[in-house]
Homo-oligomer: 394 residues x 2
C-alpha cells in the first residue's frame, strides 16, 4: 500500500551503513580504540573558525532578517559571491543568475537529473561510482548506463564509453577527485572525454551535458591538477557542495552552476529551478547561504588528508596491496586480496578493519577505505592490514 | 531538450511572486510606505531570542561536531525532544523513531506523497488550498482531486467530498489553520471527516491516509480549538514545519510524524524515508535540528497576528466585505467585490493594494490577504480598502 520503490529504498540499509552499525556494536565489545572504522566519508577536520565566527556574527547582527525565505534560486548576494570566487580562481565570467543554491550535493544532482530528463533519457556513469547516483537518476525517471572501471589507474575506458553513447544519452556524470577511488581525472582524460562528446553532439545534433559532481574539488594533493572542466567542455554543468571543503556535511549547502556557454543554458537553468520546486526544495538554508558564501574562498585544514593518504599508500603497497595512485578526496580504492570483495571485507572484520566492498561502487575486486580519520588510528591499524595480508599467504 | 514539466515549473512565475515583484517596482515609483503589500506569507515577527541564543551557544560549545551528518531520519536526541513535546502537549505516546526530520513543510509533504504513491493513486485536496500541493502530488506521480470550497465558512463540503472518494484514493490532505482562508477546522468537521474516511476504509478494505499539513498549528486565536487530528482519525500522518511558529522559514526545518497507530506504520515510515533518500534529502540541516528541538515548546510572539486579524476583519466587514471568520494562521480570504477575482486584484492595484486572487487557490471570487505585516501598514491601508469598496458603488 506504499510505493514499492520508496519502501525498498527506505528499508535496504546500505552496505556502508551496515558496516558502520556493526562498528558501533563491536566498539561496545572491544572498545572504540580497537575498531578501525574506514567506512564513512564524514570529514575528520573541523570547519574553519571563520565559518562559526561568521555564523555567530550574523546571528548577533541580523537576528530579525537572517531566517527569512530567500528567493528560490538563493540570496542574490550569496550567488554573486560564489560567482566572484570562481571568476577569481578559474578566470570565468560567471554571473549570479547562473547559480542555483541547493541543499547540498545530493540536491544539486537531483535537481539537474530531474530538470534534464525527458522520457527514455540515459545518463552515463563511470565505475567506480557513488552508488546514490543510481537512486537519483532512476528517481528522475531516467536510466543509468554504467561503464566498467579502467582498473589500472581509474581513468576512463574510452572504448567502452564510446560504445555506450546513444541518441538517448542526455548526460554523462564525472566525479573528480573521485569517491570511491580518490583518483583525479587528468587533463588528458578530460580532453579525450570532451572530444568524444563533441563528436557525438555533432553526430546526433543535440547537446550531451557533462555533469561534474565535484564536492572534492578543493581536496587535491601537492602537484595534482584538478582541471576546471567548463573550460574543457562547453556543455558542462557543475554540481558543488561545501560539505567536504568546509567540513559542513550536516548543514546541506551547495549549488548548481549552469554556465552561459551551455547549450540552451537559460532553459537548463529554469528546468533545474523547476525541479527544485517540484522536489520540495523551497530555498537552501538561509543562514548557511550567507556563511558559505562569505567563506567560499577558504577550506578546512585539509593537510591531514594528504598525510593520511601518503602513510596508507606507502604502507599498503609495501605490504603487497595494489593501490591506484590517488590525487585527492579522502578515499583509497585498493584491490581486495581475493576476487570476492564481499568475502574479503568479511575477513577484514576478523581484524576489526571495517572496509567497504567495491561491488557496491560497480568495481568488484576492490575495497574502499575512507581515511578521513585521525592519523593515529591509521598508525594503529597498519599491523592489522599486515595481518590481513599475511592471512592470505597462509 | 529539458524536462517540459520542470521547465514550465521553473519558468511560470506564480501569481504571488508576480505581485511581489510588481510591489517592489511600484515601491521605487511611489515609495515603499505607499505600497500595501499583502501578498507574501513571510512571518513578520522575529524568531524568539532563545532560537538565536541556542544557535550561538551550540556554535560556541560544539564547533567541531555540530556540522556533521546526522542519521537520515534526524538526530536521535532531536527526535526525542519532538516526541516529548507532543506527548506533553497532546497526551500522545509518540516515540523518537516515529519522527522523520525534514527540510521544512514542502519536504515533509513531498516525502509523504512520494512515499505513499502507487500507480493510479489519487490525493484529495479541499479548496481553497495551497497551490504547491498540486505540484508536489503530481511530482510524486499521483493525481490531485480538488473538492470545491464550502464558501460560507470554509469548512468542508461533505457531499462533494464523499462522492470524490474512490478505491484509488490513497490520501486526503487537510491544512488547518488554513492557508489561504485562515479558517480552523472545527472538531465537528474533523469528526465527520474521520467518520466518512473510516466508512470508506472499511468499504474498500485498505487505509486512506489523512495528511495533516499543519505549519500554522501554533497560530490559533483566543477561544479557537485546533484539535489534535491523530486523536480523531487513526490513519493520520502529521507534516509539520517550524517556519511559522518559530519564524524560521529560510532555515527549512520540519518533520513527518507517522504515529504507531497508523495502518502499516512501519512501512509508511520506511517509504517516507526512502522518498527522502530518492529526492536527495540527505538529512535536515544539523544545527537547526538542535535549535528547533530545543525551542519546540516555544513560539515567536504571535500576538500581533491576532491583533492584525481583529483590526482587518472588523474594518473590512464594516466596509461591506464578506469575510469568513478566521481562527488562526495569518491570512484572510474575503470575497472579491466582483465575481472575477483577477479583475478585482487588478483594480486593487490602482489603490496600491496588493491582494492575491483566489482562483489560484481553487476558490474564484475571493482574494487572499496575508496580514503578517506591521500593524501600522494595515492602519494606513484601511482607507484604501474603503476607497476600493467605494469604487464598486460608483
Amino acid at each position: 500500500m506504499v510505493s514499492k520503490r520508496m519502501l525498498q529504498l527506505g528499508t535496504a540499509r546500505s552496505v556502508i551503513r551496515e558496516l558502520f552499525e556493526y562498528g558501533n556494536q563491536r566498539a561496545k565489545e572491544v572498545g572504540r580504540e580497537n575498531v578501525f572504522d574506514f567506512s564513512l566519508g564524514n570529514p575528520s577536520v573541523p570547519a574553519p573558525d571563520a565559518v562559526n565566527e561568521n555564523a555567530i556574527r550574523i546571528l548577533q547582527e541580523q537576528p530579525e532578517v537572517i531566517h527569512c525565505y530567500t528567493s528560490a534560486q538563493g540570496d542574490a548576494a550569496a550567488r554573486q559571491r560564489f560567482a566572484d570566487s570562481l571568476n577569481r580562481r578559474f578566470g570565468g565570467d560567471y554571473t549570479a543568475d547562473q547559480f542555483y543554491i541547493t541543499v547540498g550535493a545530493a540536491a544539486s544532482l537531483c535537481c539537474v537529473f530531474n530538470g534534464l530528463t525527458c522520457p527514455g533519457d540515459e545518463f552515463i556513469v563511470f565505475a567506480p561510482y557513488f552508488p546514490e547516483y543510481k537512486v537519483f537518476i532512476e528517481g528522475a525517471g531516467a536510466n543509468m548506463v554504467l561503464i566498467p572501471p579502467e582498473i589500472e589507474h581509474f581513468q576512463i575506458d574510452f572504448d567502452a564509453f564510446e560504445k555506450a553513447i546513444t541518441p538517448n544519452t542526455k548526460g554523462v556524470v564525472v566525479n573528480s577527485p573521485n569517491n570511491p577511488s580518490g583518483v583525479v581525472y587528468s587533463r588528458q582524460t578530460l580532453e579525450q572525454l570532451a572530444a568524444i562528446l563533441e563528436k557525438k553532439e555533432a553526430e546526433y545534433g543535440h547537446p550531451i551535458y557533462l555533469i561534474s559532481d565535484e564536492p572534492y574539488r578543493e581536496i587535491a594533493f601537492a602537484g595534482v591538477e584538478v582541471p576546471w572542466i567548463p573550460h574543457i567542455y562547453k556543455d558542462t554543468i557543475v554540481c558543488y557542495s561545501f560539505s567536504k571543503s568546509l567540513s559542513l556535511p550536516g548543514e546541506r549547502l551547495g549549488y548548481v552552476l549552469v554556465p552561459g556557454q551551455v547549450t540552451d543554458s537559460k532553459e537548463v537553468y529554469a528546468a533545474v529551478a523547476g525541479a527544485g520546486r517540484s522536489l520540495g526544495y523551497v530555498n537552501a538554508p538561509s543562514l548557511f547561504q550567507q556563511v558559505t558564501s562569505l567563506c567560499c574562498d577558504m577550506t578546512s585544514d585539509l593537510s591531514v588528508y594528504e598525510k593520511n593518504c601518503e602513510l596508507l599508500v606507502h604502507s599498503l603497497r609495501e605490504m603487497g596491496y595494489h593501490v591506484a595512485q590517488p590525487g585527492g578526496a579522502f578515499y583509497l580504492f585498493p584491490r581486495s586480496l581475493e576476487p570476492d570483495d564481499m568475502a574479503f571485507s568479511e575477513r577484514a572484520k576478523q581484524f576489526d578493519l571495517l572496509l567497504v566492498p567495491g561491488s557496491g561502487f560497480g568495481a568488484p575486486g576492490h575495497f574502499r577505505l575512507a581515511y578521513c580519520v585521525q592519523t593515529d588510528m591509521i598508525e594503529r591499524a597498519l599491523p592489522k592490514f599486515k595481518a590481513l595480508a599475511d592471512s592470505y599467504r597462509g
